[in-house]
Symmetry: C2
Subunit: 323 residues, 2 copies
């Protein structure tokens, strides 16, 4: 088996290999800026680990790994315009550092670059890989549209929310794992289990992201309460709105816009209501549900458990599980 | 040989075959709206005619023809945001009818849809076709960036301008003709000539577009003078700036922003300067130069002239030549 520990640097080196032209500078500089180190490279790691499940030549999956990472970064670039997000990984987002038009166009070029990288996969597998990539890519767009629709929606159900994050977040994990596995030579049954694994993992991952935004994580220096201050309809907020009394529900809706309160007071008020209805525990239970399902899919694979282990450990690490 | 007259309806029907999901409505409605009849479908016609040059089964090129048309419409959708263009084919542009975020995201989805259509080309040809498509797609982005850069540039040379339109306009014609020819089974030498044909045709086509914007065309009900009022650096304006006296040059720069003048007066003032330096004739000469080069490339093809004729006639028709 290969040295998994080498995968991150293989990915970083492969991404750094692309030399973009100098001109037009305002087209290519934002792409270079977006792809500079700092990303966690989760999707390319999934591509590599899924390929490794079936093959000792995971390097063959590097172009696809890079394609998934570049596509993911393209979505962040355009999402930041749509969400008016000033920061990305602690630095100004592209549309703030340059401007909206630069961000739109360099994002477009980045998506095309992702397809260029994808064009380097083994020729005989290109048709099915391109098909898979296109299907998950369009799902990511659907997810982002639902996410924006939810901002102005009167009411969003838990089911609708889960369907949205399955599109916006899980889809690209599904694409990563399936494409890596295809390059490795997986059969249809293995692909079926990996598809379900990635879907469930993506749900758990996004729900954990929602949870950490409100309750924090000592491992990360992340600001806590951003979602609350934005009045974002996260899993926690939707659950709380479902469970809360009439007056608490009114509080949840008005607090984020309450000018007389400080940010800290707003966060404390909302967390107080979350705590009253056990929202933290309910979210943790939902995370565990999806993560357990994800692991069960991995256990259903017929591959040597020693081959499955790195993928499993990587997924566990991302959800802070050490078991 | 096939009935060329049937190509437009084959294209229209193929484009109409795609049934987009109903939801999310704000993602898919703008795509349907953008692809509704009204486009001239030039690029798909070039795909089909180039395929027909080498094959009696031009229908095999329909998915690629649709991919090129969808990609072209995606670029218009995003360009309209960047250029603040309120109208497209006489109707509100997507970002005006919906909003900027809807236009960004539905444009992204439209680009992905173009790649989905491209994924339907004959499998054995997919690698080279995807490669060609990606290369011309990125050139279109480069061209749009240069075009935006030129708006704020102090000085743009004729060479720089021609290089820009070669990217922004010719590239997609090149892609259309090459991909159509690849599907038809063209050899490397034929592809070489067709590449040069489409590049030169694209230059002639864009220069004619510039000319008609200032001098009009009785066949089209197009508003004349739009470029002049916007102070756009077209071929005509750049040529005039090169040739004009110091005082005329100052006029060319200031007239579009002159608040005391009506639109008609601005247009008349700029056209007066163009006429003084023979800019119309110089532009016509440049158009002819590139169009003659384009035709010479077609004449260099070894194919039966009867097979080349429809492509030649189509190109001539687009430039208003009946010879």
């Amino acid at each position: 088996m290969q040295r998994i520990a080498a995968f991150p640097s293989l990915i970083e080196n492969y991404l750094a290999e692309t030399e973009f032209p100098d001109q037009p500078a305002r087209l290519y500089q934002p792409i270079v800026y977006s792809l500079e180190e700092g990303g966690k490279r989760l999707r390319p790691m999934f591509v590599m680990l899924a390929c490794h499940l079936f093959s000792d030549e995971a390097e063959r999956a590097l172009p696809a790994a890079a394609a998934l990472e570049v596509f993911h970064n393209f979505t962040l670039l355009h999402d930041d315009i749509m969400d008016n997000a000033p920061l990305r990984r602690g630095r100004p987002s592209v549309y703030r550092k340059w401007n909206r038009n630069v961000a739109i166009l360099s994002g477009d070029a980045m998506m095309i670059h992702a397809y260029r990288l994808l064009g380097r996969v083994p020729e005989e597998k290109l048709p099915e890989i391109l098909h898979c990539f296109n299907e998950v890519a369009i799902r990511v767009c659907e997810g982002q549209q639902y996410d924006m629709d939810f901002e102005s929606a009167e009411r969003v159900s838990i089911d609708e929310y889960l369907r949205m994050i399955e599109l916006k977040t899980s889809a690209l994990f599904v694409g990563s794992v399936l494409i890596g596995a295809m390059i490795g030579g997986a059969d249809a049954q293995a692909l079926h289990h990996l598809d379900r694994f990635a879907r469930e993992f993506g749900l758990a991952f996004q729900l954990q992201d929602d949870l950490l935004d409100s309750y924090g994580d000592s491992r990360l220096g992340k600001t806590v309460g951003g979602d609350i201050l934005e009045g974002k309809k996260t899993f926690l907020m939707i659950r709380a709105l479902e469970l809360a009394s009439e007056s608490d529900r009114r509080m949840l809706r008005t607090v984020p816009r309450e000018r007389s309160l400080s940010s800290a007071e707003k966060i404390a008020a909302v967390l107080g209501i979350y705590d009253r209805y056990g929202v933290k525990e309910l979210t943790e239970r939902e995370i565990n549900l999806h993560f357990d399902r994800a692991l069960a899919e991995l256990d259903s694979l017929k591959e040597d458990p020693a081959r499955v282990a790195p993928l499993k450990q990587f997924a566990q690490g991302l959800l802070g599980r050490t078991k």
